[in-house]
């Protein structure tokens, strides 16, 4: 029951993430949508799977915990690297974005 609820929540978050990927205007807001909510979606799905196997078969899967930790460690970093690569190749921001001060700092 708990596992089903967790996996459903994870699927919902992944769905919201993909909607955000379609509807947001520029690359930075899309990275924002894609990294945060899909990471949370994957987290909920993996925790749901972990809980399912723990209670239905009594199997404590260390690989799932390691996977959760690994996704949480690497997904924000990949989003950061993509955002920085697009910034340093002068990808345009959304029109109504205020002029940012970080232009002088350069990445």
């Amino acid at each position: 029951m708990i596992a089903a609820f967790l996996i459903l929540t994870g699927a919902l978050f992944s769905f919201l993430s993909s909607i955000g990927l379609l509807r947001l205007p520029d690359v930075y807001t899309r990275i924002h949508a894609a990294s945060k909510s899909s990471t949370l979606g994957v987290l909920f799905t993996l925790v749901g799977t972990f809980v399912f196997f723990l209670f239905s078969e009594g199997y404590f899967s260390i690989r799932l915990i390691l996977g959760i930790f690994f996704v949480f460690l690497t997904a924000p970093v990949s989003a950061h690297m993509i955002a920085r690569a697009s910034y340093s190749t002068n990808v345009k921001m959304f029109e109504s974005t205020a002029d940012n001060k970080s232009k002088a700092v350069d990445g």
């Binding site: 390691l66 690994f70 460690l73 690497t74 970093v77 690297m81 920085r84 340093s88 350069d106």
Partner: protein
């Protein structure tokens, strides 16, 4: 293009590489009764080294890891063939595998099979081949 400050990538790589290496060794040893084995274990280990190559530069990684990957691939193939020849010594066919149970001091009752040595050969060959390909491609500048 000026050199960028990638401290986030570096510090996360230090943690991630340890996890990937542990997982690679886990895959290698679990190959007998669970999914895994020499091939994926070797590929995961090659992935960890490739991540190091991407984050730091190739020269500094090669200095800290002075392994000749061509010799490593050759050693892997040699180990695999020698385990096959080992079956022939006891009047069996080539590549006959044997296993037995031993009481190791740390692990207790453990099944040791010569298939593990064959797997080690496969893993070494896979790591050596993958790293040779990557290093050879990256070296024209």
């Amino acid at each position: 293009m000026k050199k960028q400050n990638d401290v986030i990538l570096r510090s996360v790589t230090r943690i991630a590489v340890i996890i990937i290496l542990t997982f690679a060794i886990n895959l290698f040893f679990s190959g007998h009764h669970a999914p895994g084995g020499g091939f994926v274990g070797g590929l995961a280990l090659a992935c960890a080294i490739t991540l190091l190559f991407l984050t730091f530069d190739i020269e500094s990684v090669r200095e800290n890891m002075p392994v000749d990957f061509k010799a490593m691939a050759a050693t892997g193939v040699l180990i695999a063939i020698l385990t096959g020849v080992g079956g022939m010594i006891y009047d069996d066919a080539f590549l006959t595998q044997a296993f037995n149970y031993y009481n190791l001091p740390l692990f207790g009752k453990t099944e040791l099979a010569t298939a593990m040595a064959f797997d080690l050969g496969v893993a070494l060959a896979v790591i050596g081949t993958a790293m040779t390909i990557i290093i050879t491609i990256s070296e024209d500048r």
